[in-house]
């Protein structure tokens, strides 16, 4: 049907709309992606924790425990399933939901109703990223040291003064990109393409939310200043502090 490589990656869809999940499953199957479906939050969390999925698609509006709670529980679980990449489906026009989802550690969001092509593109971007992350961990292992921050590509760990900081995979990739170019401006286009794995979309605030999460988690710099400075309308810069 198309030229997409037939990578069999299991996708977990957590959405209560049975008919919609049937259609999406069919579309993803044609795209070479196999899926599992959970129709409520509890089941979603259970499945996400029990089995190894490549990525999860999570609807914000769920009966019982809502999408945010599912996200929180998955992120709070022990073991590697806590790092499961998650694509949130949010109501269109509800910016607060998006921000909240990203703040709680979702990797990306897609406003619902969505185009299936866009869904597949986002899923592939996330999958590419986690594959690239695995490859990096086997090939390039040298750590990046800047100031009191240490980034370990091999273990995907970030340490501040030897203390581990929990980052989502999107936040990790973004920080790695900024640290590699510390002291230089990294444009929003570059961040979107290299860290999030997709072209920049207008009115998309995901980068800003990821950055503000990073700022919060990293805390203030050595002299109390901001580590990541925003360059109005252009991009961001990791400030290399004088040591």
């Amino acid at each position: 049907m198309n030229t997409a490589p037939a990578v069999f990656e299991k996708v977990l869809i957590i959405d209560d709309d049975v008919e919609l999940t049937e259609l999406v499953t069919e579309y993803l199957r044609r795209e070479g992606l196999s899926t599992d479906v959970a129709h409520d939050g509890e089941e979603g969390v259970r499945r996400a924790q029990s089995e190894q999925y490549a990525v999860a698609v999570l609807d914000v509006m769920l009966p019982g425990i809502g999408g945010f709670e599912v996200l929180r529980r998955i992120r709070a679980s022990a073991g590697p399933t806590a790092q499961l990449p998650i694509l949130m489906l949010t109501a269109r026009g509800d910016e607060d939901d998006r921000v909240r989802g990203l703040e709680l550690g979702a990797d990306d969001y897609l406003p619902k109703p969505f185009s299936s092509r866009e869904l597949v593109a986002r899923l592939r971007a996330i999958l590419r990223r986690s594959q690239a992350a695995q490859e990096v961990s086997t090939t390039r292992t040298e750590a990046i040291h800047i100031g009191d921050i240490e980034l370990q590509p091999a273990t995907r760990e970030v340490l501040r003064r030897q203390e581990r900081i929990d980052l989502t995979s999107a936040e990790f990739d973004l920080l790695a990109l900024l640290l590699q170019h510390a002291g230089e401006i990294v444009t929003r286009e570059a961040i979107s393409k290299l860290a999030l794995g997709r072209p920049l979309v207008p009115y998309d605030r995901s980068i800003d939310v990821h950055i503000s999460n990073l700022r919060r988690k990293l805390g203030p710099g050595a002299n109390g200043g901001e580590r990541i400075k925003s360059v109005r309308g252009t991009g961001y810069i990791y400030v290399q502090l004088a040591e």
């Binding site: 198309n2 259609l23 579309y27 109005r232």
Partner: protein, 373 residues
């Protein structure tokens, strides 16, 4: 000025009544006193001549008596003032409370009730208060029901739209060229429905959150620059551009999401109407304690009599043109509500050189600069 409030009117009425009553009583007493006094005097004179109290019988000397009289009048006046004040307060206090409650209700706090403040009072004003509460109750339930209905409808429309979209994508994979064109048409119409639903939701959310939305310090120049960058990015796809022609630093207390959506809606509206190969100009200036954002397009402008109606939901200047440009007529009313939430003003005028100019005025926050590091 002083007679403008019900309280001062009642107070002055009571006070005048008191003084008048005192004066009348005094006049009555002075008119009738000599009779019994002279009787008493003759009696005492008859019984005890040259009494040691003789001098006292006639009270203190004349000048002291005058002073005493003055003191007495002062006392009466003070007492009258105090009693009048108390009475007037007692009578008008519920009216003041009712007025405050009415204002609160008008400001959108539909949960306002006056009964707890009325205490055990039982009179016409207390009845009025109870009637007010009943009315507020009814308004609250009606408005809440309406908002919920609108939000529910919008949400419920979303699910079939989401399924429609995926089904279309599936059909599109196997369709031949003529069919594909129709499918694309269906997709476009679905997209329009979608946008309408999104804006309706934004509108209801704006009304619901108007009371409890958080207020933070917003750097207005950055916000405008971000929105312009996004709008420019989008406009380039349609051979149009968005430019910042002036900017100035400043802070505004408010909700970033709401303010962003307001500016975004106005700019996107301008992009929609500006002629091909022209740029929408955005100017941010400061004037006294206000930040002014002027957004100007190079489009056909709007008939003078329609300028004010631009901010009314679903108002359309020209049906045919609007449909062609894909607008649903909600963007500007969303913007207007968000701006009003920030105690700002929004108005539209036709620029002298042609095109529409939308002016947003927002009060600047003082002393919020320290957050910018």
């Amino acid at each position: 000025m002083i007679m403008k409030s019900l309280f001062s009117k009642i107070f002055v009425c009571f006070l005048l009544t008191h003084i008048l009553a005192s004066l009348l009583t005094y006049a009555y007493i002075t008119a009738t006193r000599p009779e019994p006094r002279s009787v008493q005097r003759t009696r005492s004179q008859n019984n005890t001549t040259r009494s040691p109290y003789r001098g006292r019988r006639y009270g203190p000397p004349r000048h002291i008596q005058q002073k005493f009289e003055l003191l007495r009048w002062l006392g009466i006046f003070t007492a009258a003032t105090a009693v009048s004040y108390g009475l007037a307060r007692y009578l008008t206090a519920p009216a003041t409370k009712l007025r405050q409650a009415t204002q609160q209700l008008a400001d959108g706090d539909l949960s306002t009730r006056v009964a707890p403040q009325m205490g055990k009072r039982r009179d016409e004003l207390a009845d009025l208060g109870r009637d007010f509460d009943e009315m507020a109750e009814r308004i609250e339930s009606l408005v809440t029901a309406e908002r919920r209905l609108l939000a529910d409808i919008s949400h419920e429309l979303r699910s079939p739209l989401a399924r429609l979209q995926v089904a279309l994508d599936l059909a599109g994979q196997t369709a031949d060229e003529p069919t594909r064109q129709y499918l694309e048409r269906i997709e476009l119409e679905g997209e329009r429905l979608n946008e309408l639903v999104g804006q309706l939701l934004a509108l209801t959310r704006l009304e619901n959150s108007a009371v409890d939305a958080s207020r933070e310090s917003i750097e207005i120049a950055t916000l405008v620059a971000e929105v312009v960058a996004d709008a420019d990015f989008e406009a380039h796809g349609h051979n149009r551009a968005v430019q910042i022609v002036a900017t100035t630093p400043g802070f505004i207390k408010g909700n970033t999401t709401l303010l962003r959506s307001a500016i975004e809606n106005v700019i996107r509206n301008a992009v929609r109407y500006t002629a091909e190969n022209t740029a929408v100009e955005v100017a941010l200036t400061g004037e006294g304690e206000q930040a002014i954002i002027r957004i100007r397009d190079h489009g056909p402008g709007v008939p003078e009599d329609a300028l004010e109606k631009l901010f009314v939901p679903f108002y359309r200047v020209e049906l045919a043109r609007d449909r062609q440009s894909g607008g649903v007529g909600l963007g500007l009313s969303i913007a207007a509500r968000a701006i009003r939430f920030h105690h700002g003003e929004i108005k539209a005028i036709n620029a002298p050189e042609g095109g529409l100019l939308v002016e947003i005025r927002l009060p600047l926050a003082i002393g919020a600069q320290q957050e910018d590091k």
